[in-house]
C-alpha cells in the first residue's frame, strides 16, 4: 500500500473519531454547564459525574428506528443527514491543532473551511423539504435566510484579518500573530465574527431554524435515531469549526506560554482556547431568550453588515498607510 494512501486512511479515521469524540465532550459539557447554570447537578448517573452518559445516549440513538414519514421523499429524507454530516468533517482536515499537527496544509485553508461549512445549509433545505411537514419547511425557510444573511458579516470580518496577513493559510495567519493576538487590533471584527458564528451554527439566541417553542424542532422535527444524531453531530462539529477559526484568526491559534509538555503544548493551548469559546457559546444559550426572526434579520442587515464594512474600510486604509 502506498504510504500516501495509508496516511489518508489514518487521517480520515482520526478525523471522524475526533468528530465523534468532540460531540461527546461538547454534549457532556453543554448538559453539565446548563445544569450548573440552572442550579442543578446535571448528568450524574452513568459513570462518575455522568461522563459516560453521552456514550450511552449514542448507543440508544444507534439502536433507534429511523421513522420515514408517509408522503416524504424517501431518498432525500435519508440523504439529508449524511449531506449535513459529511461536509462538517472535512474542515478538520485543515485545522491546525498544533505546529506539526495538521493533516493537510493548503494555501487556501480558510476558503476551504468556509466553503465546507456553507454546504450545511443545503442539507437543511433537503431535510426540511423532504420531511413533508410544515414545521420542518418553516425551519428551512428560516435557516436559509439566516445562513445566507449571516455569511456576509462573517466573511467581511474575516477579510479584515486577511488584509493584515495577506494569506489564506491558517499556519500563515498564526505565524503573523507573533507579538500580539489579532483580537487586540481587531476587536470589532472578533465580536462580529462570533455573533455571526452563533447564527451560522444555529445556536441560541439565533436558533430560529429549530426554535422548539414555535416550530417544535424545526427542520429535524421528523428525524429520529441516527438521522437525528447526524444533525446533532454536524451541529457540534460546526460549532468546533467556528470556534477554531476564531482561535486561529483572533487568539493566536496554538501559540501560548511554553509548558513542559513537549509537542503537546500547542494542542493544549489550542484546545483550551477553542473550548473556552465553546463554553461562552453554551453560556449564552442557557441565559438568553430567543430573538424574533425579523429582529434577527434587522440585526444582521442594519447593524452587523454596516459595522463590518466600516471595520473593513478602516482596516484597509490603515494597512495602506502603515
Amino acid at each position: 500500500m502506498p504510504p500516501e494512501l495509508l496516511r489518508m486512511i489514518i487521517a480520515a479515521a482520526l478525523v471522524v473519531a475526533f468528530v465523534f469524540l468532540n460531540a461527546m465532550i461538547l454534549g457532556y459539557m453543554e448538559r453539565k454547564v446548563a445544569g450548573h447554570i440552572q442550579r442543578r447537578p446535571g448528568l450524574m448517573e452513568v459513570g462518575p459525574h455522568g461522563v459516560l452518559q453521552l456514550l450511552v445516549d449514542g448507543f440508544k440513538l444507534i439502536g433507534k428506528q429511523l421513522i420515514v414519514p408517509e408522503g416524504s421523499n424517501k431518498f432525500l429524507f435519508r440523504l439529508a443527514p449524511i449531506l449535513s454530516f459529511a461536509p462538517c468533517v472535512l474542515p478538520f482536515v485543515v485545522i491546525p491543532f498544533a505546529k506539526k499537527l495538521q493533516i493537510v496544509e493548503m494555501d487556501v485553508s480558510l476558503i476551504f473551511i468556509l466553503a465546507m461549512t456553507s454546504i450545511n445549509v443545503i442539507a437543511i433545505i433537503v431535510a426540511g423539504w423532504a420531511s413533508n411537514n410544515k414545521y420542518s419547511l418553516f425551519g428551512t425557510f428560516r435557516a436559509v435566510a439566516q445562513a445566507v444573511s449571516y455569511e456576509i458579516p462573517l466573511l467581511l470580518s474575516i477579510l479584515s484579518i486577511i488584509l493584515i496577513t495577506n494569506t489564506f493559510s491558517l499556519q500563515g495567519i498564526i505565524a503573523a500573530q507573533k507579538y500580539y493576538w489579532f483580537i487586540l487590533i481587531q476587536p470589532v471584527a472578533f465580536i462580529i465574527y462570533f455573533i455571526s458564528g452563533l447564527a451560522e451554527t444555529n445556536r441560541a439566541p439565533f436558533d430560529m431554524p429549530e426554535a422548539e417553542s414555535e416550530l417544535t424542532a424545526g427542520f429535524h422535527t421528523e428525524y429520529s435515531g441516527m438521522g437525528f444524531s447526524f444533525f446533532f453531530l454536524a451541529e457540534y462539529a460546526n460549532m468546533f469549526t467556528v470556534c477554531s477559526i476564531a482561535t486561529v484568526l483572533f487568539l493566536g491559534g496554538w501559540k501560548g506560554i511554553p509548558l513542559p509538555l513537549g509537542d503537546f503544548t500547542g494542542i493544549f493551548w489550542f484546545m483550551l482556547k477553542v473550548y473556552g469559546l465553546l463554553f461562552v457559546m453554551i453560556w449564552i444559550r442557557w441565559t438568553y431568550p430567543r430573538v424574533r426572526f425579523d429582529q434577527l434579520m434587522t440585526f444582521c442587515w442594519k447593524y452587523l453588515i454596516p459595522f463590518s464594512l466600516a471595520n473593513l474600510l478602516i482596516t484597509a486604509v490603515l494597512v495602506k498607510l502603515i
Binding site: 446548563a34 447554570i37 440552572q38 442550579r39 442543578r40 410544515k134 414545521y135 418553516f138 425557510f141 441560541a204 439566541p205 436558533d207 426554535a211 422548539e212 417553542s213 414555535e214 417544535t216 442557557w286 441565559t287 438568553y288 431568550p289 430567543r290 430573538v291 424574533r292 426572526f293 425579523d294 429582529q295
Partner: protein, 384 residues
C-alpha cells in the same frame, strides 16, 4: 363545533382543501400537541408565509363535563373536582365553591378560617405566577428561568403540602372553614419564604426583566386596548395590564381582604411586557397580604358548625373570587336538597383566550406564541 371562539364559524376539517384558500395562504395546526400550547389545545392558523391571517382556537380536547358532574353530586363529593379545573391555582377554585354554599345557606365562617383561606390562596397565587413566569419565558426560548422559578415554587408547594396534604390539586377548604388548622411551623416557614422570595425578585430582574432580547420580544406585542379588553370580558392580570384597575379582591371584597393594605398593579400599554410586569408586581403584593395576614392571625376554631347534610333553600346564588388568572364566578341554581340543580362556572382563561382571534391577526407566529404565553392560559380550565 359552532361558534366556539366567539368570532365566526370555526373550520374544523383536519385537512381543509387547499383550493379554498386564496393568495397562497395555508393552514397550520398548532396543537393539540405543541410545546407552546401547554396543554391539549389546538389553534388552527391560516398563514401567509410567517404571518398569521386568522387564528382560530379549537377547544374540547380535554372536556370532562365538570359542570354536569356538579349537578349530580353534593358539595363535598364535587369538592375534589374544583381543584382539577385549574391545576395551577386550585385554592381560589376551592374558595369560590365553598363561598357559594356559605352564601346560599347563610353559614358563618370563623374569622381564623378566613385568614387561613386568604394566606393559602395568596400562596397559591404565587405558585401559579411562578409557573406562568417559567412557562412564558420558555415560550420565548429562555430555558433557564423556569428552573429558577420552580426552585421557589417548590418552597411554597412544600409549605402547602404540610397543611393541605397535596401539592397541586388541593381540596383543602370546607363549607364553614378549612379542613386542617395551621400551626407555628407553618407560620415560621411562610415567613422564611417571604424573606427569601423578596431576595429572589432581584435575580428575576437580573435574569429576565432587564434583558434587552426579552424586552424587544415582549414590548408592543399583543396589545389589548382597554376598550377591547372590556368588549371580550377579559379579567385578571390581562385586564390590569391594559390599564383597568379591576380586581375582585378590591372591587367586590370577599373573605377578609378588606382588612389588608395592598395595591392593584396596572400597566399602561396592554402589551406582553405590561402583563409580565403586572404579574411580577402582583407577586410582591401577595407577599404583602400574606405578611399582614400572618401578623393579624386570630385564634379560634378553624371550622364552623355545619350540618352533615346541607339543606339548600330554593333559589340561586353566585360567588366571585379573584383567581390567579382573573375573575372566577360560580353560579348555582338550587331546587332544594343538597345537590345543585344547575352549576355554572365562569372561568377567566376562557374569556382571556377569546381575544386571541382578534389579537392574532397579521402578527408573526413567534408573536402568537409570546401572546398566548402572556395570556397565561390553563387548558383544563378552558376545557373543564
Amino acid at each position: 363545533m359552532g361558534n366556539l371562539a366567539g368570532n365566526g364559524a370555526v373550520h374544523v376539517d383536519l385537512e381543509p382543501a387547499a383550493d379554498i384558500l386564496k393568495d397562497n395562504h395555508y393552514y397550520l395546526n398548532m396543537g393539540p400537541q405543541h410545546p407552546s400550547t401547554h396543554g391539549v389545545m389546538r389553534v388552527l392558523l391560516e398563514m401567509d408565509g410567517e404571518y398569521i391571517v386568522n387564528p382560530q382556537p379549537v377547544l374540547g380536547y380535554g372536556h370532562r363535563m365538570q359542570e354536569k358532574m356538579g349537578e349530580h353530586k353534593n358539595w363535598m363529593a364535587f369538592m375534589p373536582n374544583t381543584g382539577r379545573m385549574d391545576y395551577a391555582a386550585a385554592l381560589p377554585y376551592n374558595h369560590g365553591f365553598v363561598a357559594l354554599f356559605e352564601r346560599l345557606c347563610g353559614i358563618e365562617v370563623p374569622i381564623r378560617a378566613e385568614y387561613i383561606r386568604v394566606i393559602t390562596s395568596e400562596l397559591n397565587r404565587l405558585v401559579s405566577h411562578h409557573l406562568w413566569m417559567g412557562a412564558f419565558l420558555l415560550d420565548l426560548g429562555a430555558f433557564t428561568p423556569i428552573l429558577y422559578t420552580f426552585d421557589d415554587r417548590e418552597q411554597v408547594l412544600d409549605i402547602l403540602e404540610d397543611i393541605t396534604g397535596s401539592r397541586l390539586t388541593y381540596c383543602y377548604f370546607r363549607v364553614g372553614g378549612v379542613c386542617k388548622d395551621i400551626d407555628d411551623n407553618f407560620v415560621e416557614k411562610t415567613r422564611a419564604f417571604i424573606k427569601r422570595q423578596r431576595e429572589r425578585f432581584d435575580i428575576y430582574n437580573d435574569l429576565v426583566t432587564g434583558n434587552i432580547i426579552f424586552i424587544k420580544r415582549a414590548e408592543g406585542v399583543g396589545v389589548i386596548s382597554p376598550e377591547m379588553a372590556c368588549r371580550y370580558g377579559v379579567t385578571g392580570p390581562v385586564l390590569r395590564g391594559s390599564g383597568i384597575a379591576y380586581d375582585v379582591r378590591k372591587n367586590e371584597p370577599y373573605s377578609v381582604y378588606p382588612n389588608f393594605d395592598f395595591e392593584i398593579p396596572v400597566g399602561s400599554n396592554g402589551d406582553c411586557l405590561d402583563r409580565y410586569m403586572v404579574r411580577l408586581q402582583e407577586m410582591e403584593q401577595s407577599l404583602r397580604i400574606i405578611e399582614q395576614a400572618l401578623d393579624q392571625l386570630p385564634d379560634g376554631p378553624f371550622l364552623g358548625k355545619v350540618p352533615k347534610k346541607l339543606k339548600m333553600p330554593t333559589g340561586d346564588c353566585s360567588s366571585a373570587v379573584e383567581s390567579a388568572r382573573g375573575e372566577l364566578t360560580y353560579y348555582l341554581v338550587s331546587g332544594g336538597g343538597d345537590i345543585p340543580y344547575r352549576l355554572k362556572i365562569r372561568v377567566p382563561s376562557y374569556s382571556n383566550l377569546s381575544v386571541l382571534p382578534e389579537l392574532g391577526q397579521g402578527i408573526l407566529l413567534s408573536d402568537l406564541v409570546t401572546t398566548m404565553g402572556s395570556l397565561d392560559l390553563v387548558i383544563p380550565e378552558i376545557d373543564r
